[in-house]
Every structure is written in structure tokens, then in C-alpha cells.
Amino acid sequence: MKNIKDVESEIISEFEAFDDWTDKYNYIIKDLGSSIPEIETEYKQPKYLIKGCQAQVWLHASYKDGKVFFTADSDAQITKGIISLLLRVLSERTPDEILNADLKFIDDIGLKEHLSPTRANGLTNMIKQIKLYAMAFKTKEKKA
């Protein structure tokens, strides 16, 4: 499997192909949204909801063979597309890989605004949650 940096570069070059914001968002809405590793219905409940998002975001994590697997969903399309990007980078990684990821690519592909420190654009909270999961699994493993 490619490492995080590779996937990020891949995404950056994908996005370089777009001439304007319309194409970019079209891609996020139409392509990325549907490629999300969708969360199982049993997990689509308040317990897995990320707080502080204007759109609802559900996130589930599991741990297998030293790697964290994420599934997610959102009721808003653009949010869902961006999550899908994030999971492409961060799912199926070791806790350390996740914790060390700086996710600068979001900035490079011009989506930084969605990670601004606001409540409305609560993707920041989702990233926090992803890192918390990684941290939790790491600690658990150490203890075991």
C-alpha cells in the first residue's frame, strides 16, 4: 500500500487538473462522495455523530492487525466528499502514521477553508476525532 505522502501527492495532482472551482466541487460531490467507505447502518446513530458540524457526520473506527479502519457518512454532499478524501489518506494506517499526518494537502488543493476553526465547518472536529481514535488504539495496544 502507498504511504500517506504518496496518496497525498496523488490527490494533489488529481486536483491540479481542474480549471476552476466548479470542476473541483463537481468532482467532490459526484465522484468522491460515492467512493466513501460507507459506515454500517448499525453505527449511524448519535453515539458516532461528530459534534460541532453544521452537517451531520458519523464516524466509526475499528482496529485490525495494527491498522485503523474508518467508515463514515454525512448528510451533506460536499462534507461527505471531503471526508472521503481524508479517509483515503488516513484509513488503513497505523496509529502512528495517523498521528503524524499533517494533512497539508488539504491546503494545497484549496479546501483549507473547510478546516477553518469554526463550528459550522466542523471537519476540524472530525480530524480531531480521527486522531483520538488512533491515540486510543495505540494506548490500548501498548497496555496489551
Partner: protein, 406 residues
């Protein structure tokens, strides 16, 4: 139309810019309004020529600033037609005004088993302070329900009235629905039972003439930044008879008459409720924003804003799967709606990329969203400087949104 919108727009420098190479369309006026040049100039003049702490000084600048500050108070007084200038308290905004009353009034008058009455269409700033006050005083918060149009159910209200209610707090105009509430009827009924009424006027000041004497409300709250004034300043109007009986809220500075470690006595109104160094600059600038309002005519404002509202509503009706939230016939120029099949957040992001600023979300009125079982709305809120072109751009934007999501 008897007002020259083009000329008015020239007073608002912020409107004259491009976002993403597209002319900026600002339709988020219920969140905050833009500022005319005179307001900005007042801040500059103050800081360049007059800045000083006030009330305590024997020196020239301090006296001048004090006089200007008290002039602002007098201006607010006559603008809202209060009986006394000491019934006008400067705060940092509507939220602080409401918190002041919820804390201070309730400490004095709210006892175990009593009730506070608010409505189902309040802004969080007019819900949570009362929840906390009720919690602290073991009292109950009661809610006037609303109907599907987003109007208060007045018959329910009349049935709910009882002697345990110590205060009623409702918004004059709803920020997410635009509904203009029948506050006079509510106040009259409340007063028959000697219950005071606080009006949250955050959304009213820039749209309709507010006359506290005619309304006969006991408290009226508003924010400078929503009436073409600066941020960081607001007003609490309160009837003398209540304010005099209420304990101070924050303490320190000019609100004190005498301090010893044994005993502190408090200053008279209005100072009793103004702790610390006041926000002089913004208080002076607030006066300029009210002067700007006075230079217009409320009939003209209402006609213009109402035309925009009608124009937008009619155009929205042409679009597919639009649902309006807040359909009272008594409304200001706030239009809340959703595409039934597109998340408000998605709509907002696309509009933003087209240089169109609307607000999406729950607008700090989560209970309303729960009532309508929606995640939020798209809200376009118009001010005096908006034009039909702004609306055309919004409609064009929404058509593009539809295209993006189908």
C-alpha cells in the same frame, strides 16, 4: 421609490468589492449589518482626537469624552422614546443585555416554583440565560409554542398566563423566521397580571420603528452591530422602577458609589449597571448609526425591504423543491428556506464560491430546527442597501446549486 439606494450603497465601503472575481452580494444582514462611513469615521475621530477615560477626570479630554458618551445615551433615549436617559444602559450587545436581566432580575424576583415564559422561536441568547436562572432559582421555564407558519400560538399564550410567571422574554422579530411578533398584545395581557416583559429587539432595530413607550415593554435589548453600528456595544433599556430594584450585575469602576472593605454602596442609574471602563468609542459610533437610521424614513425602509422580500419569495417559488421556513404574513426581510433534497451547508458552500453571502445552519435557534425537523435553513436577510440585482444573483446562484447537485 423615494430613497436612492445607489447613493446609500456609496456610504458602505465594504459592499464595493469582488469575491472570487465576482461582485460581492451580502445577504447575511441578520447576522450583522455593514457600517456606513460616518460610523467608521466616528471611531477614527475619537481615537485620533478625543480618546480618554470618562466620568472620573477633571481634564479636558475626559470631560469631552464624558459629554459625548452621555450625548449618545440621550440620543438612544430619544431614538427609542424612553422616558429617561438613565433607563438606557450600555452593554456589549443583546446577549449581555439579556444576561444582565436574567441574572439580576431573577436574583431579586424569581423564587422556587416560579415560572419564566419564553417562546419556541427564541435565539439561544434568549433561551439559555433563562434556563440557567431557572436552574439556579429552582424555577420553571415555560415555552409558548409556535404554529407551522412560524407564529406564536397566542391562544396558548393566553392560557399559559398565570401568577407564578415572574417575567416574559420574547423576541420582537425572529432572526431565523423573520416573524414580527404581536408584542403589544402580549405586553398588555402580561401587564394585566403585573408581569414584566423583556423584548429581544436584536432583529427589530434596523427594520421597524421601536418606541418603548408605545410598546410599554419593561425591558428592550439590542445590539449596535445589527443596526449599522459597531460591534462590542449594545443597549439595555429598562423601566426605572425595575432597574432601581434590581441588584447590580457586574461590579467595579464607575458603578460604585463608595467602597470600604466592610460595605460598598452602588451608584445611581444608569451607572449602577455599567461596570469598568465603558466602550466609549463604540458608544459614540452607535449614535452615528442611529443618525444614519434617522436620515432614512421607516416607511421607505419597509417599502424597499418588503419589495426585496416579495421579489425574492416570488422568484424562489419558481424553483423546484423549495420549502419556506417561516411564512407568516407579518415578516421582515428575512427569507429562510431549504431545497428539500440538498443540505443547506452544500447550498451555502456553492453560493459562497459565487460571491454570495447567505447564512446556513440553525442560526442559533436549534429548537426551531427541531420543530421543523430540518438540519438548518438557508437564510437570506436583506438590509436597506440591498438591490434586486442582489436577489437576481442569489437566484442565479441557487439555480447553479440545483445543477451541481443533480
Amino acid at each position: 421609490m423615494s430613497i436612492d439606494i445607489k447613493k446609500i450603497r456609496e456610504e458602505f465601503p465594504v459592499l464595493d468589492q469582488a469575491i472570487n472575481n465576482k461582485p460581492f452580494v451580502y445577504l447575511d444582514n441578520a447576522a450583522t449589518t455593514q457600517k456606513p462611513k460616518a460610523v467608521i469615521k466616528r471611531l477614527v475621530d475619537y481615537y485620533e482626537k478625543e480618546n480618554s477615560n470618562i466620568h472620573r477626570g477633571e481634564h479636558f479630554l475626559s470631560r469631552k469624552a464624558t459629554e459625548a458618551y452621555e450625548n449618545s445615551r440621550n440620543y438612544v433615549q430619544s431614538f427609542i422614546n424612553a422616558d429617561n436617559s438613565h433607563e438606557v444602559i450600555f452593554t456589549s450587545g443583546t446577549t449581555e443585555s439579556i444576561n444582565l436581566v436574567a441574572s439580576s432580575f431573577c436574583k431579586k424576583f424569581l423564587n422556587q416554583g416560579d415560572e419564566v415564559l419564553i417562546s419556541a422561536m427564541e435565539h439561544h441568547s434568549n433561551i439559555v440565560p433563562w434556563q440557567i436562572a431557572c436552574d439556579e432559582n429552582k424555577a420553571h421555564l415555560k415555552i409558548i409554542p409556535i404554529n407551522q407558519k412560524g407564529e406564536l400560538k397566542l391562544d396558548e399564550f393566553h392560557k399559559m398566563l398565570n401568577d407564578k410567571i415572574k417575567i416574559i422574554a420574547i423576541n420582537h422579530i425572529s432572526n431565523s423566521l423573520g416573524t414580527i411578533n404581536p408584542v403589544k398584545e402580549i405586553i398588555e395581557a402580561a401587564h394585566k397580571k403585573n408581569i414584566p416583559v423583556l423584548l429581544d429587539g436584536a432583529q427589530a432595530m434596523s427594520h421597524i420603528k421601536v418606541d418603548v413607550k408605545e410598546l410599554d415593554c419593561d425591558f428592550y435589548c439590542f445590539s449596535g452591530h445589527k443596526v449599522y453600528g459597531p460591534m462590542g456595544v449594545g443597549v439595555l433599556y429598562g423601566k426605572e422602577k425595575w432597574l432601581n430594584k434590581m441588584p447590580p450585575y457586574q461590579s467595579g469602576g464607575e458603578m460604585i458609589s463608595e467602597v470600604t472593605f466592610k460595605k460598598t454602596t452602588f451608584n445611581n442609574l444608569p451607572f449602577k449597571f455599567e461596570a469598568g471602563t465603558p466602550n466609549v468609542a463604540d458608544v459614540l459610533a452607535l449614535k452615528e448609526s442611529l443618525i444614519f437610521m434617522s436620515s432614512l424614513n421607516y416607511n421607505d425602509i419597509q417599502k424597499h425591504e418588503n419589495d426585496l422580500k416579495e421579489y425574492l419569495t416570488n422568484n424562489l417559488k419558481q424553483l423546484d423543491k423549495i420549502k419556506f421556513i417561516g411564512t407568516s404574513s407579518k415578516k421582515t426581510s428575512v427569507v429562510s428556506f431549504i431545497f428539500e433534497d440538498i443540505h443547506p451547508s452544500d447550498t451555502g458552500i456553492i453560493l459562497d464560491n459565487m460571491g454570495i453571502a447567505v447564512r446556513t445552519g440553525h442560526h442559533c435557534t436549534q429548537p426551531i430546527m427541531d420543530f421543523y425537523k430540518i438540519p438548518g435553513t438557508v437564510r437570506a436577510s436583506m438590509a436597506i442597501y440591498n438591490t434586486k440585482e442582489d436577489i437576481d444573483r442569489l437566484i442565479e446562484g441557487l439555480k447553479f446549486v440545483r445543477k451541481m447537485f443533480s
